[in-house]
Structures are given as structure tokens and as C-alpha cells.
């Protein structure tokens, strides 16, 4: 009974959101039920790191994507299915899988990829093929500057993150010297550059370092952190790397505070006293999320971070756009792209209104800063 009630609440919520969300400019002609059914049985892509070093991230995003689609289908009478592609957070693989996706004429929209470097890899191809794609975690600034016109994202850009993180270090942590270590991926270098610019503008001394994200030992780098550095900024994608770095800081008696970007906002990074920013806040307790969280937890378990819910929203956006395009019984990539940009979810589970500007950014998206307390609990501080 309780299970049925939870599911009914989710279905009702998503149905209401979907019904009010897409504003179509013209009314659709009446179409046969069979054409409509065929159209709304299409596939929605999911590009994510299902295996490889950050497979935990792909698993979480994939589970939230599946959950989102199941919920949408149940609420809207559609039968969309998810077509998964494993990118391993690797641009080369992303391009290989992306090529297959782009060549599949029955695939009209995809979600992902997860990493900015992957978007850069598939972007030109998706542009040529007109394939719209919505990422739930790629935050590099350049992605929405016109080079990748069919790209959209449901999270903020690193311009906002780099600036807000740097200002937090200056204003709240009173940093005079900051060590910034990127992990040599587009996401990380872009974010490091954005933060560096703001810190230097505020007369903070910046020591720049760089390390490959496949490295398994950071001892030598930790040794290089000067004793007078107040903050070490890690704009990294692999949270477990951040945890290891924090442990090795402790081992070498370094007292600088660690500040991680949204990539470290995961259960794998639990260094007490460290700060993390996130592109989405913890959705527990946000209005309208209780039933959705309960439904997800029941099906996939309670171990998830802030990476999951944006994936839910990205699939929700794709499905809404797809359904709207099917109003006349057929859908094209161009129609879906147009509809994605017209989507508006006033009360998304992220706690913000999700709609897109002409570049594919969500104007309401912002970043949050939390401090990690003992036991890994996060407390919102900025």
C-alpha cells in the first residue's frame, strides 16, 4: 500500500510537471493512436562512464536516468527506452560510442556525456548530425559558447563555480596563498583557470600544479604544498583521488584546508573539515522530492550523491521534448532540439526552475559550498 502510494505520488508529480512544462508554439493536428504510440516508444540515449575508473559515477547517473524514464513513462503513458553507451569518461571512447549514436537515425536525443572533455570530443560530430544532447555534469565554460550548438546542460558552468569557489576562499577562508592542482582534463583545467583569475584579481598568491587523474599516489605533490598555503583547491573528477590526497596531507602534517570542486562532491570524499562545491544541492528535504527519493531508494539503494538527481532531470527534459515532438506522430532531431530549448520545469527536483537560454545553459543554476563534518555529513555554508 505504502509502495503504491509512493509510486502514485511520483507519477502524479511528474505528470503535472510534464503537462505544464513544454510550451508549444503551434497546436498539433490529430494523429492516430498507433502513430503516437510508435513515436513515443523511441529511444533516449545515455552516454556515461558505465565501466572504467569512475564507473561508480556512471552507475549513479545511469540508475537515476533509468528511474527518471520509468517515472516519466508511467506518468505519461509513453514507452521510451534508454539506450546506454559506455564512455569510461574517456574522450576517445566517447567519440567511438558517440559515432554509433549519431549514426543511429532512430536515436533523436541523448543525455550525457558526463565529462566536459567528452563533450568536446563528440561536440563537432553531434553538431554535424544535429543530435541534441543534455549533460547532467559537464560544466566547462566553453561548452556553451557557441561551438557545440546542440549541447545543453542542466547544471551550472565553471565560470560560476570557479568564481564562487574563489570568492569563498578569499572572503570566508581569508586565503592569502592557494595551491591549485588540476587533473589535466578539460573540466579541471577550465575550472582551475577560472578560479586562478579571480584569486589573482583579489591579490592571492596562486601556486599552480597539475597531476593526471590516473595517478595513484600524490605524496610527492603533497610534499610540494608550502606550509603557508591556506587552501589547496582540487578541481578534480575522481573523488577517491581527493580522499587519498587529503589522507596524504594528513600523513605529512600539512594543515592547509582542502577545497574540492563538484567532482569531489561524492561519498568517496569524506575528509573532515574539507570544503566542496556542488552544482546541485543535496535534494533531501527540498519541496516535492520526498516521494521521488523514497522511490529511488527503494529500487536502487540509498548510496548516491548530488550527481544523480541532475541525471534524472536531464532525462526528464529529453523525454518531455520527445513527447512534445511526437504530438504530430513523428519526431526529428531538429524538433527535439527546439523542444528542449522550450522546456520549462518550474519546480524541478534540483530546487530550481529548469529552462534553457539560447546557449543551452540553465539561467537559474548555481553552485553551493558545503563543509564536510565528521561522518561525511555536509553542512551548507555558502
Amino acid at each position: 500500500m505504502k509502495k503504491a502510494l509512493v509510486f502514485a505520488l511520483i507519477v502524479a508529480g511528474v505528470a503535472a510537471a510534464s503537462a505544464s512544462a513544454v510550451q508549444r508554439s503551434s497546436s498539433s493536428p490529430a494523429v492516430s493512436a498507433s502513430r503516437m504510440a510508435a513515436c513515443t516508444s523511441g529511444q533516449i540515449g545515455f552516454l556515461g562512464p558505465i565501466t572504467g575508473p569512475v564507473a561508480f559515477l556512471g552507475a549513479e547517473q545511469g540508475n537515476w536516468a533509468k528511474y527518471s524514464l520509468d517515472t516519466f513513462n508511467a506518468a505519461n503513458g509513453t514507452h521510451f527506452t534508454l539506450k546506454q553507451g559506455d564512455t569510461q569518461l574517456n574522450p576517445k571512447l566517447a567519440l567511438t560510442v558517440g559515432t554509433k549514436f549519431a549514426a543511429d537515425s532512430s536515436l533523436l536525443v541523448t543525455t550525457g556525456p558526463a565529462g566536459s572533455q567528452e563533450v568536446i570530443a563528440v561536440g563537432p560530430l553531434f553538431k554535424r548530425k544535429g543530435l541534441p544532447y543534455i549533460s547532467a555534469s559537464a560544466t566547462n565554460v566553453t561548452l556553451t559558447q557557441g561551438k557545440y550548438p546542440t549541447f545543453s546542460r542542466v547544471v551550472g558552468s565553471d565560470a560560476a563555480q570557479g568564481k564562487s569557489d574563489a570568492l569563498f576562499m578569499v572572503n570566508k577562508l581569508h586565503a592569502k596563498k592557494v595551491v591549485i592542482i588540476d587533473d589535466q582534463e578539460a573540466y579541471s583545467t577550465g575550472l582551475a583557470a577560472a578560479a586562478t583569475a579571480v584569486l589573482k584579481a583579489n591579490h592571492v598568491t596562486v601556486q599552480r600544479e597539475s597531476v593526471n587523474q590516473k595517478v595513484t599516489d600524490f605524496s610527492s605533490l603533497v610534499t610540494k604544498v608550502p606550509d603557508d598555503a591556506r587552501v589547496v583547491f582540487l578541481p578534480w573528477q575522481v573523488a577517491a583521488n581527493g580522499q587519498l590526497f587529503a589522507d596524504q596531507m594528513k600523513e605529512q602534517g600539512k594543515s592547509a584546508k582542502i577545497f574540492g570542486s563538484d567532482g569531489l562532491d561524492s561519498g568517496d570524499f569524506t575528509a573532515t573539515g574539507a570544503y566542496v562545491s556542488s552544482f546541485a544541492r543535496d535534494i533531501h528535504g527540498l519541496p516535492g522530492t520526498q516521494a521521488i527519493i523514497a522511490g529511488y531508494n527503494k529500487k536502487y539503494g540509498t548510496k548516491w550523491s548530488t550527481f544523480g538527481p541532475p541525471s534524472f532531470v536531464s532525462v526528464q527534459v529529453a523525454a518531455m521534448a520527445y513527447k512534445a515532438a511526437c504530438a504530430d506522430g513523428t519526431a526529428t532531431r531538429a524538433e527535439l532540439f527546439k523542444n528542449i530549448r522550450a522546456v520549462k520545469i518550474p519546480h524541478s527536483i534540483l530546487g530550481i526552475t529548469v529552462s534553457f537560454d539560447k546557449h543551452g545553459d540553465v539561467p537559474a543554476a548555481k553552485f553551493y559550498v558545503s563543509i564536510i563534518q565528521s561522518g561525511g555529513k555536509h553542512k551548507l555554508v555558502g
Binding site: T51, A55, D217, S219, Q243, K250, G253
Partner: protein
Amino acid sequence: MYTWDFFVQELVNGLTLGSVYALIALGYSMVYGILKLLNFAHGEVYMIGAFIGYGVLTVSGGAGSPMFPIWLLISFMFIAAMIGSGLLGVVIERFAYRPLRNAPRIAPLISALGVSFFLQNTALLLFSADFRSYDTFDLGGGALFVKGIHEGPLNISLIRIIVIVTTAALMVGLTLFVSRTRVGKAMRATAYDREAAAMVGIDVDRVIVVTFFIGSALAGAAGVMVGLVFQRVYHFMGFVAGLKGFTAAVIGGIGNIPGAMLGGIFIGLAEAFSTGYLSSTFYDLIVFGILIAVLIVRPTGLLGKADIKKV
């Protein structure tokens, strides 16, 4: 900034990393020495060793509340990982390499890559993609990290000392085994000329099995060491470590046991000092640049010897 303490700290960082590379390199080198086979599944054997150590730690109550004294627990972890990895190496040899022993050399190479992917994906299936942590900081209230040498900016934790000393002990043990025992003599004979060794009554199959067992056991020990020092273990960890171990074996002179040890330590130190004194961004470039230079000067590696063939 570049003080004496800084140098010593980077030296210890390099020796710790180099110890792990050296133990992995030994497996590559031993197998190549006997079979002329590049066992690309070796990195995954190391990964399985790390997981076995993690399993023993977990079954023993975890780092937070172990049911044994720390030294005993760590000993159990090493023993279980070395036996488990050793047996895995034997199984790999029996089913993936032995049937191809007389096949063209490319065939076992492909088989090795296949085994590597098989083990990696099996681990993914069994243990999931999550990072697992030894949580060594919780073991004995952080004794392994708190104890050791902590003088001013110099911090050499007990666990790093344990890793370096254990590696040295294993290397000495292996050297004595190969040079002083009958099996070791048989291994050297087989490496020198497999057919001639068989003709004089050496059971070559047995020698190969022993070689795989020892090489894999050392990789298992390296896996536990990495878990203890760097804490996290995951299904993909064998890839880069295997690559570095292989490079160490080549730089030391593949097929040469002291060379593998030297190569591992050399790479570990080169990585640490490149990061510390030159550039963290380009340390791989610097390290591999040094290695290319070494190989140009000595194509057979630091301690390798050129094959002389009568024609």
C-alpha cells in the same frame, strides 16, 4: 623550499612507490626470462591481491575494530594475498598460456591481454565499480601513520617504513631462492635454454608453474602494500601499475631479476623527484624521457645482457 628535508621526503615517497613497481616488475621479468612472454595480465593479478588483502581486513572486523593485533592482521593480509595471487598466476598459466606455448609469440600475447580484460571485468562484476578503502588511518588509531619519523617538515610514517623494509626482505629472499636453491637453479637453467634444461631432466612445466606462482605472489604483496599506504583499491587499479611495472622491467633489463628491482626503484624515484623538483604537469614526460635516454645508451636495460646467437 628545496631543503634537505624536502629531498629526504621525496626520496621516501619515491622509494615507497618504487618498491611497489619493483615487486610488480619482478613478475614481468621472471615470466619473460623463462617463457619470453609478456604477461599483460600481471597488473590484474596485483589488483586481485589488493582485493584479497581487503577481504581479509574486512572479514577480520575492518580497520576500525580488527579482531587481531595489527602486526598479525597485516601478516595475514600479506600471506593470503600472496597465496591467492600466486595460485591465480598458476591458473592463468595453466589455462591461458600453456596451451599456446608452441604457438607463434603473438598468440600468448593476445591471450594475456584477454586474461587482463577478463580479470578486470570479473572484478567489476564481483566487487562493483566502487572504490574500496583499507581505511588504514583507522587501524590502531592511525598508528601506522602517526608512528614513524616525524621531525619538523620531515614525515616518514611507519607504514612507509614497513613497505620499504618488506620489499627489501622479499627481494633478498627471492635473490637467495634463485641463487641458492635447486628450484632456483632449475629456473636459471630453464631461462638460459628451455630445451637443454628439459634434456638434462629438469621438469620445465614445474619450473614455469613455480615461476608464475612466485611472480604473482610478489604482485599480490604489492597489492596489499598499495592498499595499506594508498588505501583505495578498485577494479581498474592494475592497468597503470602494470604499465609502470612493465616499464620498470624493461628499463632494468627484462628477464633480469636484480634489473627489475633496480628499474622499479629507478622509476619510483624519477617520478617523485620530477614531481618535486621539476614539474608535476610533465612528470610522465620527464620520466619517460629519462627512460628513453637510458634505453638509447643501454638498449638491453640497466642490467640486461644482449642475447648472443651462434649462426
